[in-house]
Symmetry: C2
Subunit: 194 residues, 2 copies
């Protein structure tokens, strides 16, 4: 099977099986959201507004064939121990995770790895700006949520998800458009910079 | 050929050929410096002083075999379009490149890619802290150099390297020890924070 990842966009979760239409469309939607965030960051870079990059997917390289240049012949995807995006806005360190959910009622917290929560708590501890961008596909809205809010939910064991109503109440609606696709910078400026 | 990269440390430059002893030791030394910087960052994290990570090596995945989990069977190393390290120190965005040279007289600028210079100029433009850590193996000293200084040298076409004397004069000597191995944070505090 041949897979290309344009713009470094990786598939989320399990491999796409063409027979499972629902799983397929979910994976594509996740990729679509990441792709749009990448375009947003390119726009910010072009306009000189911020410098935000997607971190490369960590890959554990096991075998390399050097007979014709360096060709990796055996390697495995590793879990991202941090988040997908980080960068600089007006000198401030910015770090965030972008997630998409198709649920109509809540954002499932099993989308987030424990080491990501730990990482975001560390970012906050060191004075950085940390948040989640949560794309609620069912209602066609995207919210910026402070990482502290999401991490608190995560650390309360009984909760397995954040209800959409809570996201609406405690998050900040991201303005969508053509360019930038998801304009999250004004929300950092208004709500996260102290 | 089987290759393991402990701690995500990648070999620098060409593949290591066991018959070329000098190249072999040069590559090992480069890896050793990166490894020591990684240990330094782990120390800073443990002590709650800063949060700095090595970016994963970007890899272009061409083929994945999903018959037993996801095994990458064809992939290629890509050039790092940014730098090796970034993170947060007291809320400030920090970005740097760590390089080792065995030259006794100068630091060759062909070690630095044009897109890395562009990236570091962008970091500065957005108010971030950007620098180089240059390990001068021949004299057993490591210097922190402001990225603006190195980028200026890079952009003056006739210069192919920075003389060691210039590095000593314009850089800041990094204190070496057991833990942290290369204590670069006090130099950020003293010389790069405005």
């Amino acid at each position: 099977m041949s897979v290309n990842y344009p713009g470094g966009v990786k598939p989320i979760g399990r491999p796409i099986k063409k027979t499972h239409v629902k799983l397929d469309s979910a994976a594509n939607r996740g990729m679509g959201f990441e792709h749009d965030i990448n375009l947003t960051n390119e726009y910010y870079l072009e306009k000189g507004l911020a410098l935000v990059y997607k971190r490369p997917t960590p890959i554990n390289v096991v075998k390399v064939d050097y007979s014709h240049g360096a060709k990796i012949t055996q390697a495995y995807f590793e879990c991202q121990s941090t988040t997908d995006y980080n960068g600089v806005y007006k000198g401030h360190y910015v770090d965030f995770e972008a997630k998409s959910t198709r649920s109509k009622t809540s954002f499932p917290l099993n989308n987030i790895a424990p080491q990501q929560v730990e990482h975001l708590l560390n970012v906050k501890k060191h004075g950085g700006i940390a948040f989640f961008l949560i794309n609620c596909y069912a209602i066609n809205e995207t919210y910026l949520l402070d990482s502290d809010y999401v991490c608190a939910f995560y650390q309360e064991k009984p909760r397995k998800s954040i209800p959409l109503e809570e996201i609406k109440k405690n998050g900040h609606l991201v303005k969508e458009g053509y360019r930038p696709r998801y304009d999250y910078l004004p929300l950092i400026e208004e709500f996260l910079l102290k």
